[in-house]
C-alpha cells in the first residue's frame, strides 16, 4: 500500500513517516511549499524543507516538494485578510486543513497513485460497521481532533494518523532512537505565514489599513482607552484593555469597525448562552436536532455541554465565553467526550 506522508520538517510528521515504513507501507514524504514570504516555520521555510528531506533520507524514504502556494493564497491567506477586514476572527490552520491538506493535497495523492495520505496529527480514526469514526488522541494535551473536526467519511477513508495512540514524549523518544535531528526541534506554535518578529500586525498591515480605535466602556459609553490596531482586536481579548477603576479585569465584548470602537466590559458580559454556526459538517452520522453534545471552541479549549439544533443554533448548558465570529466549534459525543461528531463556523 502506498502512502504519502505530509512532512512539515517537525518531529511528529517525521516519526509518522518512520512508523508507517516500519509497518510495511510504501512511504513517500511530501513537503508543501505554501508561502513564499517571511515565516518562522511551517511549510515554507527552506530550512523546514531541508529538515523534512534529511529526516526522509534518514528514514530511507523518497521525499518531494509540491508547490501549492496559489491555492494557499486563494483559500487561506486571502480569506484570512478578508476576514479581518470584516471584523471576523478566522482560524487559518483549520482552513488550511479544510482546503489544502485534506482537500488539494489528498486529491493530489490519489491522482499520483497513493492509497492513503498520512499526517503527524494527534487523532484516532477507527473503522467500524457504521463507517469511520474519529476520536480524540490518547495524549490529551496534544489532541488535535479539533482542527480535524471538518473531515468527512470520504476523506477519513483515505487518511492515516499514526500518532493517535502515542504520547508526545514517546514520539520524541522514537525520533531520538532512530537518530532524527528533529527529535528536539520545538513544536511550531504560530500561523506558518506570520513571522514572530513582525506578528499579525506586520503581516496584515501589508494588505489592509490597520488604524486606531477607541476602547469604550459598554455600560457607561465612556472612552477608557485607545488601540492603534482596532482590526486586530478579538472578542474576549483582555490584552491591551485597561482595568477598571477598582482594578477589575475588562474584556473586549464587541468591535465596531465602522464606528472605530471596541466595546469592553467585565467577564460576565462576555458570557453568552448560545451561538449560531454555519458550514456545519458531520464526520459520521448527522447529529439529530435537539441532541446534547460536547462543544469545543478552540484547539485546546475546555469542552462544555450544549444542545445542537439543525438550524445551526447551539444552546449552551451553562453560560460560556462568547466565541468570536469566524471561529470553529467542534462537536463531540456527550457521553465520553471522545468521538468527534463534526463542526461548524460561528456566525454570531
Amino acid at each position: 500500500m502506498k502512502v504519502m506522508v505530509a512532512m512539515s520538517g517537525g518531529v511528529d510528521s517525521s516519526v509518522s513517516a518512520y512508523l508507517l515504513k516500519e509497518e510495511g507501507f510504501d512511504v513517500t514524504g511530501v513537503t508543501l511549499r505554501l508561502w513564499g514570504g517571511d515565516g518562522d516555520s511551517g511549510c515554507c521555510s527552506v530550512s523546514d524543507v531541508e529538515d523534512a528531506r534529511r529526516a526522509a533520507f534518514k528514514i530511507g524514504i523518497k521525499h518531494r516538494v509540491i508547490n501549492m502556494a496559489e491555492v494557499f493564497d486563494d483559500f487561506v491567506v486571502n480569506p484570512y485578510v478578508e476576514s479581518h477586514k470584516n471584523g471576523l476572527t478566522p482560524n487559518p490552520c483549520i482552513e488550511c486543513n479544510r482546503k489544502i491538506k485534506f482537500d488539494a493535497l489528498l486529491k493530489s495523492a490519489l491522482k499520483l497513485g497513493f492509497d492513503y495520505l498520512a499526517t503527524g496529527h494527534y487523532a484516532l480514526v477507527q473503522k467500524g460497521s457504521s463507517g469511520f469514526r474519529m476520536l480524540r488522541a490518547k495524549d490529551k494535551d496534544k489532541d488535535q481532533s479539533y482542527v480535524l473536526s471538518m473531515l468527512s467519511q470520504q476523506q477519513l477513508s483515505r487518511l492515516i494518523f499514526p500518532l493517535g495512540e502515542l504520547e508526545k514524549k514517546d514520539v520524541r523518544e522514537i525520533a531520538k532512537q532512530i537518530g532524527l535531528s528533529v527529535a528536539t526541534k520545538p513544536d511550531s506554535q504560530d500561523v506558518c505565514f506570520i513571522h514572530s518578529a513582525t506578528g499579525r500586525k506586520g503581516f496584515l498591515g501589508k494588505y489592509m489599513a490597520i488604524s486606531e480605535g477607541k476602547l469604550v466602556d459598554e455600560r457607561t459609553n465612556e472612552v477608557i482607552g485607545e488601540t492603534d490596531a482596532l482590526e486586530l482586536l478579538t472578542i474576549g481579548q483582555r490584552k491591551g484593555v485597561p482595568a477598571g477603576k477598582l482594578g477589575q479585569r475588562r474584556f473586549v465584548t464587541r468591535v465596531d469597525l465602522r464606528e472605530r470602537k471596541a466595546y469592553v466590559g467585565p467577564f460576565l458580559n462576555l458570557l453568552v448562552s448560545k451561538a449560531k454556526v454555519k458550514d456545519v459538517t458531520f464526520v459520521n452520522k448527522e447529529i439529530k436536532s435537539g441532541t446534547e453534545i460536547y462543544l469545543q471552541a478552540s484547539a485546546h479549549g475546555s469542552p462544555f455541554k450544549g444542545v445542537f439544533f439543525e438550524n445551526g443554533e447551539l444552546i449552551f448548558k451553562n453560560p460560556q465565553k462568547k466565541v468570536a465570529p469566524g471561529q470553529t466549534i467542534a462537536f463531540y459525543d456527550s457521553v465520553e467526550n471522545k468521538e468527534v461528531l463534526g463542526s461548524g463556523v460561528v456566525l454570531l
Partner: protein
C-alpha cells in the same frame, strides 16, 4: 566499484539506471571523453597552480592549457578568459564586477534572463543607485529590438542578453543586439550568458559583439563546479571574490585545475560537433513534440522551433500542475523539469512564460524537455509514451 565513504550515501542509489533523461538543460551527463580525461587527471599529482615548485608548475601548465583551449574556441586571447565555479558566478562577476567601473546610470537585461543575471542585475542597480530596465520579448522569447533601440542611449552602462534561454531555448540575435549597442550606447558593456549555447551555437562569433560572455561546463557534457568568463580588452572588471591573486586577481581562490581541463575538453568537443549534433538531435526533438501534440492530451508547443535550439522541446500541458506531472514522470523513469524552481525544490511560477505572454493560469504548467548528446531514439519514443500515459492517469478522477 563503489568506494567506502565516511558520509552517508545510499549505495543502492549510485549508478541506478534511468530509462529516459530529458533534462539536459539542467545538467548533461559527463561525456565519455571527459570522463576518461577525469580519470587520468585524478591520478596525476598536481600542486597548487600558484606555487613555485614543479608539481605546482605542472598544475599551472594544465590550467593554462585548458585556458588556451577555451580561448581558441572563442577566438580570443588566453588572458581574456578567467575560470570560476560556474556560469552563475561568471554572471555575478560580469555584472557586479563591471558596474562599479562604469559611468552609466542604467542596466538593461532581457525579461527572460536566468535569475543569476536578473537577481544580480537588480542587486547591482540597487547597490549603485541605477535604474534597471527589462527588455520585453515576443511570444518566442526574441527580444524586441525596436524597444531596445528606443531605450539605448549613452546613459546605459550594461546590457545583458542571454545567448540561449534555459527554459524555452530561444536563440537571440547577438549580432543585431551588438550592433545596436555599439550604435546607440557605445560606452555600454554588452554581456551574454552563453551557458546554454555551448552545444548549439558557434561561440567564436560572440567576441565580435560582446564584451563579456559567461560559459558553463556542465550543460555541455562537462562537470559541475567550473565555469568561465570571457572579458574583452576594454571591459574593466573588479573582483567580487577577494583575497587572492589568482586569475589576475580577478577571482581569488585556488583554481579547479581538473575542472578547468574537463571544461576545456567538453567545450571543444561540443563546438567541434555542432553540426553532427544538430543533425542528429533535431529530428528526435521534432518527433518528441509531434508525438506529444498529436496525442490529444492537451499538450501544445510553447514557442516556434525556428526560434530555438534543436534540443529544446518545451511544451505547455493544460490543466495539470507541473509538480504532479514531474512526479508521475519520475515514477515512470522519465527525468524532466520546468526550468524554474525555488530552493525548496518546489516548482515556482516562470517569469519566462510570463514574459512571452503565456496566460497566468499556465505559469505552473510548463514542461521543459531537453535533449542532448546522450539522447537516443528509444528514449524519445519511451518518453513520449510515458508523458501521455502519465497525463491520462493524473486526469482520471480519483474522488
Amino acid at each position: 566499484m563503489v568506494a567506502d565513504t565516511t558520509f552517508d550515501i545510499n549505495k543502492e542509489d549510485l549508478n541506478s539506471h534511468r530509462l529516459c533523461y530529458l533534462d539536459h538543460a539542467a545538467t548533461s551527463p559527463l561525456k565519455p571523453s571527459v570522463k576518461a580525461l577525469a580519470i587520468d587527471l585524478l591520478e596525476e599529482s598536481l600542486g597548487n597552480p600558484t606555487g613555485a615548485h614543479s608539481l605546482a608548475q605542472r598544475a599551472k601548465k594544465y590550467l593554462e592549457a585548458a585556458r588556451e583551449s577555451i580561448s581558441d574556441v572563442l577566438n580570443v586571447g588566453a588572458n581574456q578568459i578567467i575560470f570560476c565555479s560556474s556560469a552563475t558566478e561568471a554572471n555575478n562577476i560580469a555584472i557586479l564586477g563591471s558596474i562599479s567601473e562604469t559611468k552609466g546610470k542604467k542596466i538593461l537585461v532581457s525579461a527572460i534572463e536566468h535569475n543569476s543575471v536578473l537577481v544580480t542585475a537588480r542587486q547591482a542597480a540597487k547597490s549603485y543607485g541605477m535604474d534597471l530596465g527589462l527588455i520585453p520579448v515576443d511570444q518566442d522569447g526574441l527580444i524586441d529590438l525596436n524597444w531596445l533601440s528606443d531605450n539605448l542611449n549613452p546613459d546605459v552602462a550594461l546590457v545583458s542578453v542571454m545567448l540561449v534561454n534555459n527554459e524555452i531555448g530561444t536563440i537571440q540575435n547577438i549580432e543585431q543586439i551588438g550592433g545596436l549597442v555599439r550604435e546607440k550606447a557605445p560606452e555600454a558593456l554588452f554581456h551574454s550568458d552563453a551557458a546554454q549555447g555551448t552545444c548549439w551555437v558557434k561561440l567564436s562569433s560572440l567576441q565580435k559583439e560582446c564584451h563579456l560572455v559567461s560559459l558553463s561546463a556542465h550543460k555541455a557534457g562537462g562537470p559541475v563546479g567550473v565555469g568561465a568568463l570571457y572579458m574583452s580588452s576594454d571591459a574593466r572588471i573588479k573582483p567580487v571574490i577577494f583575497g587572492g591573486s589568482q586569475e589576475r586577481s580577478l577571482r581569488a581562490g585556488t583554481q579547479n585545475v581538473i575542472g578547468a581541463c574537463l571544461m576545456a575538453q567538453a567545450v571543444k568537443d561540443a563546438q567541434d560537433n555542432l553540426e553532427p549534433n544538430l543533425i542528429r538531435i533535431k529530428p528526435l526533438r521534432d518527433k518528441l513534440i509531434d508525438e506529444l501534440v498529436k496525442s490529444d492530451a492537451g499538450i501544445r508547443e510553447t514557442t516556434s522551433r525556428e526560434s530555438k535550439i534543436a534540443g529544446n522541446a518545451h511544451v505547455i500541458i493544460e490543466s495539470v500542475g507541473a509538480d504532479e506531472l514531474l512526479w508521475a514522470l519520475d515514477d515512470r523513469g522519465v527525468c524532466a523539469s520546468t526550468g524554474s524552481s525555488c530552493a525548496s525544490g518546489a516548482i515556482t511560477k516562470s517569469h519566462v512564460l510570463s514574459a512571452i505572454g503565456i496566460k497566468s493560469s499556465d505559469y505552473l504548467s510548463g514542461l521543459r524537455l531537453t535533449l542532448g548528446w546522450s539522447t537516443t531514439e528509444e528514449e524519445v519514443a519511451y518518453g513520449a509514451n510515458a508523458i501521455v500515459e502519465a497525463l491520462h492517469s493524473l486526469r482520471v478522477s480519483h474522488i
